[in-house]
C-alpha cells in the first residue's frame, strides 16, 4: 500500500484503483461515497469533541483554573462523558412549537457545516472534492446555517428564542459581506477560486506576507467577521447567556442541543481552516523566498501537521476573543460591520487590485 504522509493522492488513488478493479463504476462511486461519509462523520465527531475539550482547557488556563481533569487522563474523556449524558437526556417537546421545523432546525445547522467540510484541503491530496469554485462554494453553504438558527428561534415559540434568532439573522447576513469581501481580496491576488490552487500558489510564501498591507487587513477583518458569522463571543448575541439565557436554542435539550453545540465548534473549525488555507498557506510548509536550506528543513514536517498547527493557532485566537472581551450590543455590532468593516474592506479591495495591476506583490 503506497502510503506517503507527504502526498495523500497516491493513497486515495490506490483506494480508487483497487475498488475499480473489484466492482463496476457505479458501485465504486457508491462505495467511495459511503467511505467518505463514514470518514467525515467520524472526523466530525472526533474534532468536535476535541474542540470542546480544547476550549474548556484553554479558557481554564486563562482563568487560573485547571479545567476538566477527572474523567480519563487529563480529563480527556470529559467531553465524551458529556456527549453520552446528552444522548441519554430527554428530548423535551414544546407544547405550541412548530414540530416539523423545530425538529428540522438542528439538522439544517449541522448539515450546513458538513457541506463546508467537503471542500477543505486537509493535506496534499486529502481533499473530498476539489471544486474550481471551492472558496465560493464554502461561503455559500456556510450561510445555509443561518436558516437553521432562524428556524430554531422561530419554531420554539419562545420569546427569548425569537429575539436570539432575529439577532442572529441580522448579524450573520451582514457579516457575510465582510467575510466574502475579505476573501475576495485574496482571490484578486491569487486569481483563482480553487482551494487547492490557492494553496499551491503559496509555495514560495504565504499570502499573508505576499499581499503586503491589504492582505494583513483582510486577514484581521476575516478573523473578526468570521467570529461574528459563527456566533461566537464577543459576537454571541444570538445566545447571549446573560441576556437571553441561551438565545435560539433555549428550548432544545438532549441530542438536539448537542447538534447545535457541535455545529458551533465545527463552524469554528471550518472558519479556522479557511483562514489557514487562504491566508497562511493551508498544508503548505513555511517557505521563505530563496532560503533553500530552510525550506528543505520545513518540508520534512508533514503537510497535515502544518495544516493542523495553523488551524490550531487560529482557533486559539478565536477562543482568546471569546474569553477576553465583553459582548457587543446589537446596534454596535451592526455599526461595526456597516461603518467600519465594510468601508475598510471596499477600500482594501481597491488597494489590492491596484497592487496586483502594478505588479507590486511578490
Amino acid at each position: 500500500m503506497p502510503f506517503d504522509i507527504y502526498d495523500f493522492s497516491s493513497f486515495t488513488g490506490w483506494i480508487d484503483a483497487s475498488l475499480r478493479a473489484a466492482m463496476s463504476p457505479f458501485w465504486t462511486i457508491f462505495t467511495e461515497f459511503v467511505l467518505l461519509g463514514v470518514a467525515f462523520l467520524a472526523f466530525y465527531a472526533v474534532v468536535g469533541l476535541l474542540l470542546v475539550y480544547a476550549e474548556r482547557r484553554v479558557c481554564a488556563f486563562m482563568q487560573c483554573r485547571v479545567g476538566p481533569n477527572r474523567v480519563g487522563p487529563w480529563g480527556l474523556f470529559q467531553t465524551v462523558a458529556d456527549l453520552i449524558k446528552l444522548l441519554f437526556k430527554e428530548l423535551i417537546h414544546i407544547k405550541k412549537a412548530d414540530k416539523i421545523l423545530f425538529n428540522l432546525a438542528p439538522f439544517i445547522v449541522i448539515i450546513a457545516s458538513f457541506f463546508a467540510l467537503a471542500a477543505i484541503p486537509f493535506a496534499k491530496g486529502l481533499h473530498a472534492v476539489d471544486l474550481n469554485i471551492g472558496l465560493f462554494y464554502v461561503m455559500a453553504v456556510s450561510s445555509v446555517g443561518v436558516v437553521g438558527i432562524l428556524l430554531a428561534g422561530w419554531s420554539s415559540n419562545s420569546k427569548y428564542s425569537l429575539i436570539g434568532a432575529m439577532r442572529s439573522g441580522a448579524q450573520i447576513i451582514s457579516y457575510e459581506l465582510s467575510v466574502g469581501l475579505s476573501l475576495l481580496v485574496i482571490v484578486v491576488l491569487a486569481g483563482t477560486l480553487q482551494l487547492s490552487e490557492i494553496v499551491e500558489l503559496q509555495r514560495d510564501g504565504w499570502f499573508l506576507f505576499k499581499g503586503h498591507l491589504p492582505a494583513v487587513i483582510a486577514f484581521i477583518i476575516f478573523l473578526i467577521a468570521s467570529t461574528a458569522e459563527i456566533n461566537r463571543g464577543p459576537f454571541d448575541l444570538a445566545e447571549a447567556e446573560s441576556e437571553l439565557t441561551a438565545g435560539f436554542h433555549t428550548e432544545y435539550s438532549g441530542i438536539k442541543f448537542a447538534f447545535f453545540f457541535l455545529a458551533e465548534y465545527m463552524n469554528m473549525f471550518i472558519v479556522a481552516s479557511i483562514a489557514a488555507t487562504v491566508f497562511l498557506g493551508g498544508w503548505m510548509p513555511l517557505h521563505i523566498g530563496s532560503w533553500d536550506g530552510f525550506n528543505h528543513i520545513m518540508d520534512y514536517i508533514p503537510p497535515f501537521v502544518w495544516y493542523a498547527g495553523k488551524t490550531a493557532v487560529i482557533i486559539y485566537i478565536i477562543m482568546l476573543f471569546k474569553w477576553t472581551f465583553p459582548r457587543l450590543r446589537i446596534d454596535q455590532l451592526l455599526t461595526l460591520e456597516w461603518k467600519y468593516l465594510l468601508p475598510i474592506n471596499l477600500f482594501n479591495i481597491l488597494l489590492m487590485a491596484f497592487l496586483v495591476l502594478m505588479g507590486w506583490h511578490f
Partner: protein, 157 residues
C-alpha cells in the same frame, strides 16, 4: 474627521490587544492557578482554628464535660436549635443537683451565630472544624452533644 475615524480604530484595537495580553499572559503562566482539588487534598486540608463548622461539646480523657445544664444556650439560641433534657442527680451531701441528660443540637437549624458558645458560663461548648455535613437523611442532623455515660467535670458549678 477621517483622521479621528482612523485614530479611533487604532486606539480601540490597541485596548483590545491590552486585554488579550492579560488573558494570554495567564495562559502561559500555569503556576498562577488557584484551583484546589478538593477530595484529593482532604488530608492536607486544614480548617483554621476559628472555623465555625458545628457546635460541639469537648470531653476530656475521663469522658467528662463541663455542661451544668443551666439552659442559657437554649435561651440564647435564635433558631431553637438547642434543646436540653435535664435530670436531677443526688450528690454526696444528699442535695439534688441539676445535670444534663441529653444536650440535643439540631445542626439543620443552626445558623452558626455563635451566641451559645459565647454565652456559656462554664465554657462547655465550642465550635468544631468538621465541615462535611451532607447526609441523606435529615434526622441525622439532630445530634446529641454529650457522649454516652459522660459526667460533669469536677469543680464546674
Amino acid at each position: 474627521m477621517l483622521f479621528s475615524y482612523i485614530k479611533g480604530i487604532f486606539k480601540g484595537v490597541g485596548t483590545l490587544f491590552t486585554g488579550m495580553g492579560v488573558t494570554t499572559s495567564y495562559f502561559f503562566r500555569p503556576w498562577t492557578k488557584v484551583t484546589q482539588k478538593y477530595p484529593e487534598n482532604r488530608k492536607e486540608l486544614k480548617m483554621v482554628e476559628a472555623f465555625k463548622g458545628e457546635v460541639t461539646m469537648p470531653h476530656n480523657a475521663n469522658n467528662e464535660h463541663s455542661c451544668t445544664g443551666c439552659g442559657i444556650c437554649e435561651i440564647n439560641c435564635p433558631n431553637g436549635s438547642i434543646e436540653l433534657v435535664t435530670m436531677f442527680l443526688v450528690n454526696e451531701d444528699g442535695k439534688k443537683k441539676k445535670a444534663i441528660d441529653k444536650h440535643i443540637y439540631h445542626l439543620g437549624m443552626c445558623s452558626m451565630c455563635g451566641l451559645c458558645v459565647k454565652t456559656c458560663p462554664s465554657n462547655a461548648l465550642a465550635f468544631g472544624n468538621e465541615f462535611e455535613h451532607a447526609v441523606f437523611d435529615r434526622t441525622k442532623l439532630t445530634k446529641v452533644l454529650n457522649k454516652e455515660g459522660s459526667t460533669l467535670k469536677k469543680g464546674v458549678e
